[in-house]
């Protein structure tokens, strides 16, 4: 039982990490109807920027204040992501308004290539570490309930907390601020939003910016877990089932989807994996999402698709 719970909690926390990446997809899809395959590249780019900036800031400060260096690096990396968002909107998206979904998808794949290339040219292609001072040692909980207790990775726990905080902040931003209201209006209907004077282009820059910041947070957390390297870009592929399971248009869907996928992956890997040779988590997530999709084709929380002739 304790082992089962341990796996379950591990899955929940891994799921929160997937949600973080998935959130970026959902934000951009909601506001512009673009399925942004470049999200993985943005995570990589942001993580690279963060890792290098924090290294440089640390060196400039003489290495005595890690927190200050990280704050400076975070702000600088955020600024970089803003510039990236602005350039993407300016050069690519603005010229691709009203294209088919597949074309936009391919365009974001192109953007992903560009970002990966530029990121590695600017920041180098070695493996870097991000150290934001998160505790790495595991803790043992509930010792009184189970024999031996449950082992929980502290780093994962804090990451999950950060993810949760980010989601709450985003929900408030979407629901309570006037920019958030404009974003939701654009998501509903581009033309109607334009006609009541909402500047589409600025909204898109903001959305890509927010997605960039989400990517930055995801990049920091994933980067401090796995190290900042090229393979970080493939995190997006791990997060895709989360997005379609939760629904492309739903922020809470990304969270719930992430939790379901996280639990499913961990449980399948631990209890099913040994029978079939292991390594199944990568496709199991997709299969799980597929099964859900067969019952709800628009994802768990997606908007219902209504067909009219």
């Amino acid at each position: 039982m304790a082992f089962f719970l341990e796996t379950l909690i591990g899955g929940l926390m891994a799921g929160m990490l997937y949600s973080l990446v998935a959130l970026g997809f959902v934000l951009i899809y909601k506001a512009s109807g673009v399925f942004n395959f470049a999200q993985g590249a943005m995570v990589l780019f942001a993580a690279l920027a963060m890792a290098r900036f924090s290294g440089w800031a640390n060196a400039a400060l003489g290495g005595d204040s890690l927190i200050l260096a990280n704050i400076i690096a975070f702000i600088a990396a955020g600024g970089v992501m803003f510039i990236v968002a602005w350039i993407i909107e300016r050069l690519a998206l603005r010229n691709l308004v009203n294209q088919e979904g597949a074309t936009l998808l391919m365009a974001t794949l192109g953007i992903a290539y560009v970002l990966e290339g530029i990121g590695q040219t600017l920041f180098g292609s070695e493996i870097y570490n991000i150290d934001v001072g998160m505790p790495k040692d595991p803790v043992i909980m509930l010792e009184s309930v189970f024999e031996g207790g449950i082992l929980i990775n502290k780093e994962d726990f804090y990451a999950a907390l950060i993810a949760a905080a980010l989601v709450i902040a985003l929900s408030i931003f979407f629901q309570k601020t006037s920019t958030g209201r404009a974003l939701r209006a654009v998501a509903d209907d581009h033309q109607a939003a334009l006609s009541i004077g909402i500047p589409l282009n600025r909204i898109w820059v903001i959305v890509w910016c927010v997605a960039g910041v989400v990517a930055l947070v995801a990049g920091i957390i994933w980067g401090s877990k796995l190290g900042v390297q090229f393979s970080l870009a493939t995190v997006a592929l791990r997060a895709l089932p989360v997005v379609i399971l939760g629904g492309l248009t739903s922020v809470p869907g990304a969270i719930i989807g992430g939790l379901i996928i996280g639990i499913g992956e961990k449980l399948s890997e631990v209890f099913l994996g040994p029978y079939v040779g292991g390594g199944i988590e990568i496709w199991f997530a997709y299969m799980l999402a597929l099964v859900f999709l067969l019952f709800r084709p628009q994802g768990l929380f997606g908007e219902k698709i209504i067909d009219r002739v």
Binding site: T103, A107, V114, Q120, T121, G277, W283, A289, L294, V309
Partner: protein, 358 residues
């Protein structure tokens, strides 16, 4: 004034419905095919065959298959690489387990296995649509990546995980030299392109296009969505599977599952979208563009660096390749979202009117 159908009268239904109604088109295509069969083997050297021509032929075949599904039936797929892998590994298993089979039969059987799997993984398309389907097809990709890596039976329990074939002969014709490989692939491609073209002009292709344009409306006028979608998946997977078998057998010789990774799927989809969705000739343009561009950049960038006296490191070149490749794709999508095939069609239209503007 040269490219004009003036004076070409059609006197039978057959003549009216032929694939290239304009005589000049017919002669051009025949000339190109003749050149490909006779001229190219005399002109090209071995590197050219290995690095450009053979990959181009095989990936055009795969892109053709993907185009049938994505461009004609409107079902976006990101799992094409998996079906290439299925074709390759199925053909491999037929080859080693039933050694009596001739090579062509092995390739076709590989394609048929891939078609069967295509139907299986196409079933979600009956419920799931658009981008959701695109992500769902990734399930096939990752599942088969895993299966060919972990299930020993598929690779005949080879210890390194890679499988290899050698001494390929077709009806006694040895196809180990690059020229023969090229001719073999070319012959298959011509036959398959003809099949694809005729399929899309016939009842089945029209059903696919109706489903693509609006599936509910198509259902209302009596097209069975299940039949149309699953047949598109089957035919597309068959093409892709044969291409995969060729890729493994003829181009690579020995291969690992990584040869058919998700990057391959993206590459094929790139070819279709850059070339032009719903266009047979577009698949060839797309394949040529996607294959030649990286090779060109790889050769051209260091040369450019030398010109300005800068030594560019290999890492920088590969990053620059990424950047230029990505930006060119975005650029093409912005300039011509309907792909190179549309440019081709426009230029033909202009040529017909030349020297008049209208």
């Amino acid at each position: 004034m040269i490219y004009r159908e003036n004076g070409q009268f059609k006197t039978s239904y057959g003549a009216d419905q032929q694939i290239f109604p304009i005589a000049q088109d017919r002669y051009l295509v025949l000339a190109i095919i003749a050149f490909a069969f006779i001229g190219v083997p005399m002109l090209a050297d071995e590197y050219f065959f290995r690095a450009i021509l053979i990959p181009f032929l095989i990936l055009s075949l795969a892109a053709l298959g993907v185009n049938l599904l994505v461009g004609y039936c409107g079902q976006i797929t990101l799992g094409a690489g998996a079906f290439m892998a299925i074709g390759a590994y199925a053909a491999y298993n037929f080859l080693i387990r039933v050694p009596e089979l001739p090579l062509l039969a092995v390739l076709i059987l590989g394609g048929l296995t891939s078609a069967a799997m295509g139907i299986l993984f196409g079933i979600p398309s009956l419920r799931v649509r658009g981008l959701y389907l695109a992500v769902a097809t990734l399930a096939a990709q990752f599942f088969w990546d895993w299966a060919f890596l972990r299930i020993g039976w598929f690779t005949n329990y080879s210890s390194s995980g890679s499988v290899s074939v050698s001494n390929l002969t077709v009806f006694g014709w040895d196809i180990s030299s690059p020229v023969n490989k090229y001719l073999f692939c070319l012959a298959i491609l011509v036959v398959f392109a003809l099949i694809a073209k005729n399929l899309t002009r016939a009842s089945l292709g029209r059903q696919w296009m109706a489903i693509r344009d609006m599936d509910v409306a198509a259902e209302v006028i009596g097209i069975r969505p299940m039949w149309a979608k699953l047949s598109a998946f089957a035919v597309s997977s068959f093409f892709v599977g044969v291409a995969g078998a060729l890729w493994g057998f003829v181009h690579l010789g020995s291969w690992e599952p990584a040869a058919f990774s998700v990057d391959r799927s993206f590459q094929l989809l790139f070819m279709v979208i850059i070339g032009g969705m719903g266009s047979i000739v577009g698949s060839f343009f797309g394949a040529a563009f996607i294959i030649i561009l990286p090779i060109f950049l790889n050769q051209f960038l260091p040369a450019l660096g030398d010109l300005f006296g800068i030594a560019i490191s290999t890492a920088a070149v590969s990053h620059a390749e990424f950047i230029i490749f990505g930006s060119l794709i975005v650029f093409f999508l912005i300039v011509e979202p309907h792909g190179l095939a549309r440019l081709w069609a426009t230029s033909k239209e202009k040529l017909r009117l030349w020297p008049f503007p209208h």
